[in-house]
Point group: C2
């Protein structure tokens, strides 16, 4: 049978495998970017489902409109204004089935085969997959500790010119590195890119998972042109099993996104959206986020402690100030895939860094998730990994 040419671009199953590794019961897995499931407010969610089914059961089990449940979109718009100063109207919010779908729709809207997408590197595998499915040419841009390096961005824009159709970035607690852009760099980036007619996808999946009280202003906050498309989700701050996320764009763009959402799956689940709206109206999501970020901070600290104690000093890292990930750098010439092979034999999993490079490959890094494993598992798994790393680097 003959397949579309896109299938040749989509051979990378790293993300699929990451999920599968984590599903093995006896594995200590630092692979997947999952929140900690024991934090899910199961009883409150149950109550919300019961209330929704008792009072609006028929509507909750029917098709929802393509843009999503109005009340939820309104609550999200308000919440983004309160938290980040973002000024989106309800009509500028569309509910998506996870933020992955928002990335898929963004690729679909902007990308023809062979178009260039500029990417922070390393970056999120799911976005890489979504873009590869539309046969984008992914061009990696280097970052420093402040964010995307603007000189490199300018150079890429000069080099690829009109072929550049999209820029994809994660300014907060980036996946996989855990790093955030500085406020200064955000402003500079938006100022700079305003001279180009190129849309920017701002993936804000981790933005609220800060270990500090202050949240950075999103790129969208500085955007006066309607050039930035903002993607948010409840998967990391609440729970991923509902598949409720959102995409914000100014009116003209939103019209097009709705056509694509309709073609993709008609609409997202009405009951999941109504449950979420009920929860946001009757419970305190911010208190919940405070609870989970405290837990993740503890786990991050524990992981850093074991790294400092058990890992060789040549292993580099930046301490993340939020999010779900720690990014380790082995000395040049070492390969984290080799380390993974040995770790799996001892029932410890992580994702080798090479998977996060959309083009070109750098193999001496690795991503560790610290949100999803309990304290004792972090100590045990990281101690094993430390010993294995020590052995491997000594070879």
């Amino acid at each position: 049978m003959r397949f579309a040419s896109r299938m040749e671009c989509l051979q990378d199953k790293a993300l699929l495998n990451a999920m599968e590794l984590t599903e093995t019961e006896d594995m200590i897995s630092f692979s997947a970017g999952f929140p900690s499931s024991e934090t899910y407010p199961v009883a409150d969610i149950k109550e919300a489902f019961v209330q929704v089914l008792d009072h609006e059961g028929e509507e909750a089990l029917s098709y929802c409109s393509t843009s999503g449940f109005g009340k939820l979109r309104e609550l999200i718009a308000k919440r983004m204004y309160d938290k980040f100063g973002l000024d989106y109207k309800t009509g500028e919010v569309v509910i998506t089935s996870g933020s992955q779908q928002a990335l898929d729709m963004s690729s679909m809207l902007f990308i023809n085969k062979g178009d260039v997408v500029l990417f922070e590197t390393p970056s999120y595998l799911g976005a890489v997959n979504a873009l590869k499915a539309y046969e984008a040419e992914l061009v990696a841009l280097p970052t420093d500790r402040e964010g995307l390096i603007l000189d490199s961005l300018k150079q890429a824009l000069d080099q690829y010119g009109d072929r550049v159709k999209l820029i994809y970035v994660i300014p907060d607690f980036q996946n996989p590195t855990g790093r955030s852009w500085s406020a200064e760099r955000r402003k500079q980036f938006v100022d700079f890119i305003a001279d180009y007619d190129i849309p920017v996808i701002e993936d804000a999946a981790y933005s609220e998972l800060s270990f500090e009280d202050k949240l950075e202003k999103p790129l969208s906050y500085y955007d006066k042109k309607g050039q930035v498309v903002y993607v948010g989700t409840f998967s990391k701050t609440f729970c991923p099993g509902l598949r409720v996320a959102w995409l914000c764009a100014k009116e003209q763009l939103m019209e097009k996104f709705l056509i694509l959402k309709n073609a993709a799956d008609l609409s997202s689940s009405a009951i999941a959206q109504r449950q979420m709206a009920y929860y946001l109206s009757h419970y305190d999501l911010d208190a919940h986020i405070k609870k989970i970020t405290s837990l993740y901070l503890e786990r991050r600290n524990l992981m850093m402690e074991v790294i400092d104690r058990e890992f060789p000093k040549e292993v580099g890292y930046v301490i993340p100030k939020g999010g779900l990930f720690i990014w380790l750098e082995l000395p040049e010439g070492k390969d984290s895939r080799e380390l993974l092979k040995r770790a799996l034999a001892e029932k410890v999993a992580f994702i080798p860094g090479g998977s996060f490079y959309p083009s070109g490959v750098k193999n001496n890094e690795l991503r560790l998730n610290f949100s999803n494993m309990k304290g004792e598992e972090i100590i045990k798994g990281m101690t094993i990994l430390g010993h294995l790393t020590r052995e491997y680097l000594a070879e």
Copy 2:
């Protein structure tokens, strides 16, 4: 801003509008293909949600694997075997977010820009949209009362040759005509197409909504080559608000579908899938389907009665033996869009037939949904529509 070229193909908002028309409170709408929401077993579904959250809450709120919840896939495979004799293994079933997503994934897998897709005509708008989003060239094939006309199929295959990448059909209670293929035509079609290396999407959205006891065997039942991809859904037999549907394909194809599902939205909602699995295990879906098909049969009969009484005799129809739709044909030269304009002014909605022609247009037909409106609304709305039709045809 510059958009992908696909956006030029996707101007048809008929389906979006159909949903919006139905949302107007005082409209008697025969537009959308919705099940009757008062039939949803709200209390049983609530109980299922409560049980799932009480006993497997953390798992239900976590990410699901890309292929879907194993238990649900197993139950679906068994159900399809019991009902239709279909022999799919659990591993050959992937859960999708509504059958629209299965159509999107199928387009994605097989279609490059400009590839030809053969279509029954008229046909389902959502499939048209999914295929247009990948810039397929849609070639309409005529049908008769037995199903797709094989001579026309052969002619199209001769004419378009290697450019034909996919065939899309709805053999049972087709949307929009309500017609079903005969058993004989099904066998002939599968025999015939087995000589070609072209995949067939069998959309079985309405297959179980039969007003007779016997269910026809699907095309997949006759398929020995693994050429037919079967798409099923709970949206019409149960409720659409959960967005739980499925796609079946033989192993080699399934591998590719999973890569695309992963790129599209990672996975479908874990809680919706577990709720569905609980319902299937603890309640009697067949009894529920029997209940709703009895109701739909009553409503179909009522609608036919009003048509026979109030509509001019020149209006043609075939009495549907299942599904959700009646298809009316006005005399040649008349335009159902004109009729719709007048109907909307009197708060009655339907979908003009032209919307269901992927290429070329025939404007003298219309689709009426009979499942979604209560008896008195059917009488009132159809009486108004009958008078308007009489007036219009007399001009």
